[in-house]
Symmetry: C5
Subunit: 86 residues, 5 copies
């Protein structure tokens, strides 16, 4: 899992039908150089919140199965993060 901040929203009218109903958010990693991605939200996350993001087939499974065409999902809102800095 990667640690991200929710930084935006994305809208697509023309999309693969199984994306209907998914709330798509723009997330940016807080570590590892700050990659920016789009993830489907499973936990009601809002802009500015720190979240846990999963990728690949694990995201697809969490989003409901083989037909969901999303390879990233927000699966937790971080309350507390304690870590040694580099």
């Amino acid at each position: 899992m990667i640690i991200c901040k929710v930084v935006g929203h994305v809208w697509a009218t023309k999309k693969e039908e199984h994306l209907n109903g998914q709330k798509l958010m723009v997330v940016r990693e807080t570590e590892n150089g700050g990659g920016t991605y789009v993830a489907a939200d499973l936990v009601g996350a809002g802009i500015g919140e720190l979240v846990l993001v999963i990728s690949g087939s694990t995201a697809r499974m969490a989003l409901g199965g083989n037909n969901t065409p999303s390879d990233m999902a927000i699966v937790g809102i971080i309350d507390n993060l304690e870590m040694e800095t580099t």
Copy 2:
């Protein structure tokens, strides 16, 4: 998912048979340093459009199942993107 701009087309006459009928487009990430990839189009995207691209087994599933030899797919055309810049 990654955010890409459609920047080109690619043609391959000699190819794995299950690629027949797939429209292959060249996409370039607008974030994360701008990687360039080839993705099969599921939504009728055109050159210059901003799109959502998925990877890995999730792309293969969206393209029709285990036999499709493509690991990237365009699954949405972005109408509106709102995000904080870095």
Copy 3:
């Protein structure tokens, strides 16, 4: 597998239900530029320990199957590591 040091903990009250009961730890690679990730712990690892971390569907499988929404897992505590340096 990647070699990581356990550097912290993360707590999320609001999370996908299948994450309940997973102990989530922050791990940092000791090689490859030191990426920082969150992994579910399977072996009782503690802060400061050197561990083996797996990713993707292999982590999900090790954590119990298709429903577990975690794509990284700690699967071993390293006792001894012998390697040529670059």
Copy 4:
């Protein structure tokens, strides 16, 4: 999919038995900094040709199923590539 040039061959006498009969070629990405990998060839590609390369479980599936221990495959020979340069 990534765009690669075929740049070499690799031979391994001692190998996992399900690699027998696979033609293993060295490929180098023409984009994204030029990573070098080994892929099993499905389309009769030759040195110097521009090809489409897939990765992960999608490559394994294209190569014949769960038992094939290769995570990269050449699935098309590029005839024509039109793209905007950066």
Copy 5:
């Protein structure tokens, strides 16, 4: 597949039970900036040898199936490698 040199060994007494019996070796890519990883050995590779390494679910399958918690495997010992240099 990536081309690696075997550079070391790793031992973990406390580990996920399905790792028992796996010989875990430290491998370093000879290309692509030289990433360092831990892979389970399937072919009897020794320190200093050039090997082919696979990743992800393909490694897990080669190592015996869904329960094996390793996402990298050594599947061939390279006898001969011919490639154009960059």
